[in-house]
């Protein structure tokens, strides 16, 4: 059992530079969009990570091929947030809806933007959305995410350098 943390500073920077501050995040600002193709290997890895070997994800489905677990769409919007803002923080709320199955090899264009930000209990929250469309322009998924910028209260000073930047390789 870990001892209670008494850290009283919010990190000012990490290996990717200065951490983005709450005031620098603009409601309505777009996130850097991305083209995303899920591979057979990505699906296999997602199944292993989640220990979810539903036959639709492993063998075949009513969609004519194996398809990806819907939660595979977690990563691209997080990558897009990271490309746009240097934020670590933690995940607070996750909404999504699946409109089409995610098939291996299909190209999905993902766009997103910041939709809200607020302060509650001395912590800073941001909310962003992302939507994936296939090459025919049909919606594949939509998602809304709420993220807490720091676990430490916003009254704490910003100083020091973090070990974990939040930046991760853009792969499943």
């Amino acid at each position: 059992m870990a001892e209670e943390n008494t850290a009283k500073v919010r990190l000012a920077e990490d290996s990717f530079g200065k951490r983005t501050e709450f005031d620098e995040i603009e409601i309505g600002a777009p996130l850097e969009s991305m083209e995303w193709v899920v591979t057979e290997e990505d699906i296999e890895k997602q199944c292993r990570i989640d220990e979810d070997f539903n036959e639709c994800y492993v063998l075949d489905s009513a969609y004519g091929t194996r398809v990806a677990p819907p939660q595979i769409q977690y990563r691209p919007p997080r990558w897009m947030l990271t490309r746009t803002y240097n934020v670590r923080g933690v995940f607070y709320k996750w909404e999504f809806e699946s409109f089409k199955a995610i098939r291996p090899g299909e190209k999905i264009m993902v766009t997103g933007k910041i939709v809200d930000k607020w302060i509650k209990n001395e912590r800073e929250f941001i909310k962003f959305e992302a939507i994936g469309h296939d090459e025919a322009g049909e919606k594949v998924f939509s998602t809304l995410r709420t993220h807490v910028l720091d676990m430490v209260e916003r009254t704490a000073p910003r100083e020091g350098s973090g070990i974990d930047s939040g930046h991760k390789p853009e792969k499943i």
Partner: protein, 143 residues
């Protein structure tokens, strides 16, 4: 064309308890290619104000999604909706159980029913780490 048998159908009553899905986590599940992160490194986590490394939220939430896939099959893959809140961190060695209860059924279109479930993930200590709702679609005709 394959079609998967599902647990939830149009005849499933309100109050039906979904089959739980459980897993014990291990810090090795949160390795990030050798990178030190808040999910695998004590110092990285404490620097961010956490008491220690925490499980990756989506990997914990995946217990709920596995349960939904089992219950709804293709009605989760297309038409599935998720709205969850991460209420408290899960430790990297914690045992967690996803549970759910059918709370409502509403027609959607001419031939489908949206079945909404209250869902949550609880730890071994009985604390709810994730709470929310998920829903999937079932055929009204029972085909």
């Amino acid at each position: 064309m394959a079609s998967v048998n599902t647990i939830i159908t149009n005849d499933t009553p309100i109050g039906f308890e979904l089959p739980p899905v459980a897993r014990r986590f291990d810090v090795s599940m949160f390795a990030a290619g050798g990178m030190k992160t808040i999910h695998n490194d004590e110092d990285a986590a404490r620097a961010e104000g956490l008491d220690g490394p925490v499980a990756v939220g989506p990997q914990v939430a995946a217990l709920i999604f596995r349960m939904m896939g089992m219950c709804f099959g293709e009605g989760w893959i297309v038409g599935g909706r998720n709205a969850i809140t991460f209420r408290r961190p899960v430790g990297v060695y914690d045992y967690c159980i996803a549970r759910g209860v059918v709370r409502s059924k509403e027609p959607e279109g001419d031939d489908r029913m949206r079945v909404e479930c209250e869902v949550w993930v609880e730890t071994e200590a009985g604390e709810k780490a994730i709470v929310g709702t998920c829903s999937g679609l079932v055929a009204v005709s029972g085909e």
